[in-house]
């Protein structure tokens, strides 16, 4: 019980922590963009695509949503090479994160698409817009506006969950923390500092997304 906290190592660790945080940010930015695009396509395909495609998308969503992200990550990084697909850790991490997030956001985007009244589509078609224009210009902006809070939460959750990609040696924030605590023998202080950085990142990310959403989506609708 004579343990005293020591943060003296922190000064020399700022660089490593900043590098790790930058990698975490990079991962979530790529995942957010790729995941959102995929989920829009998947949600639309699940509603208007051929039967086999609808079934395939449902399968994908259910499998991802009912298995742990860490298992998906291991399957992609360790399992796929036996099929001859060998991925760099960062690529594997981005692939796993994107596939994981897209499964959740497919459901979210789908709920948004369902929330847009039919009349909007009919009115747009009556004005002579082509089906694709109706979707991109009329339906999608309104759907995104409805689901924006849910989408934001999902992105923040994914950012927090990205800490487990340290397990395949992607040098993001948690990985840097693992390396630091092995060097300093100060695991509690190290993980405490890094947990607080995650907390700050999640608050910042949420603010940023809300700001982006306000600026782009309200203009897109009205």
């Amino acid at each position: 019980m004579s343990y005293s906290l020591d943060f003296g190592w922190l000064e020399g660790a700022v660089g490593a922590i900043a590098r790790g945080a930058a990698m975490t940010v990079l991962l979530i930015v790529v995942t957010t963009i790729a995941g959102t695009v995929i989920s829009i396509a998947a949600a639309a395909g699940r509603r208007n695509g051929p039967k086999w495609l609808q079934r395939a998308i449902t399968c994908y969503v259910e499998v991802i949503r009912n298995t742990p992200f860490l298992v998906q990550l291991f399957f992609i990084f360790f399992g796929l090479p036996s099929l001859g697909i060998r991925l760099d850790p960062i690529v594997a991490a981005i692939l796993a994160m994107t596939l994981n997030m897209a499964a959740y956001t497919t459901e979210i985007v789908g709920a948004g698409l369902d929330a847009v009244p039919r009349g909007q589509r009919e009115a747009a078609a009556a004005l002579g817009l082509r089906p694709r224009q109706v979707f991109v210009k009329i339906v999608l902006p309104q759907a995104l506006k409805v689901i924006f809070p849910a989408l934001t939460s999902q992105i923040v959750i994914m950012m927090l969950e990205s800490s487990v990609v340290s397990q395949i040696a992607v040098s993001e924030l948690t990985y840097e923390a693992d390396m630091l605590q092995a060097r300093t023998f100060r695991p509690f202080e190290t993980y405490f500092v890094v947990a607080m950085i995650y907390l700050g990142l999640s608050i910042l990310l949420r603010r940023l997304l809300v700001g982006i959403g306000r600026r782009t989506l309200s203009a897109g609708v009205s």
Binding site: E62, V63, L70, L160, F192
Partner: protein, 215 residues
């Protein structure tokens, strides 16, 4: 070298699943108890209590579960507790679950009409009786779907305890993989087992949701 047949792998994994199930149950029960306590603080009349509960919830929802588990695993020994992976896993997941459950139940309490409180008060019930007899039963009832949904999250979250050394399904599979070099089969089976655990609950949550929407 020992030869592992497919059956050996499957049997070992299914055997290890009981730890995943046990950990899920323990964390859900513990999270429920602590969650009710946090809920009571969150809806209390005292400002400090509401602040504390909000901060608690924000802290656990704003940091990665993996960090929470590490802090539990490395932090408790500093306070003089001897800690095994099992203890750290149960405690870590309990706190994690309590924050989410408290928040879900609070949304249930908020959804109740104001008149429920007033009616309770006019019947002469004091605060705790109101909570126990009127408010909480209804709040629990209308939040059943999200609670079951969270249980699925929690079962999946148990996989992270493999990282702090708790011998559940995923950690066992890592060991088996190291012996067999068949990651495709091993992790495929692990995913299948998790799916079998989670999918019925997901469907159940969906049916609860549909029933709630029909009312």
């Amino acid at each position: 070298m020992i030869e592992f047949t497919f059956w050996d792998i499957a049997r070992n994994l299914i055997f290890a699943t009981r730890w995943t199930v046990l950990l899920s149950i323990a964390a859900f029960a513990g999270g429920g108890i602590v969650g009710v306590a946090i809920l009571l603080l969150r809806i209390s009349k005292a400002k400090w209590a509401r602040r504390f509960a909000s901060g608690y919830i924000a802290l656990f929802q704003g940091t990665p579960l993996l960090m929470q588990l590490f802090l539990m695993f490395f932090g408790l020994p500093m306070l003089g507790f001897r800690i095994e992976p099992w203890t750290a896993a149960v405690l870590g997941l309990t706190f994690f679950a309590s924050a989410y459950l408290a928040e879900i139940w609070r949304s249930g309490v908020d959804a109740l009409p104001r008149g429920q409180w007033d009616a309770g008060a006019s019947l002469g019930l004091h605060y705790l009786q109101e909570l126990r007899l009127i408010i909480l039963p209804q709040a629990f009832a209308i939040t059943r779907a999200p609670v079951v949904g969270f249980l699925v999250q929690l079962i999946k979250a148990t996989a992270l305890t493999s990282i702090i050394g708790f011998e559940e399904l995923l950690r066992t599979s890592n060991a088996i993989n190291n012996a067999t070099f068949e990651p495709f089969t091993v992790y495929g089976l692990v995913a299948l087992i998790f799916f079998v655990l989670c999918y019925p609950l997901t469907q159940y949550a969906r049916s609860l949701e549909a029933r709630a929407a029909a009312h």
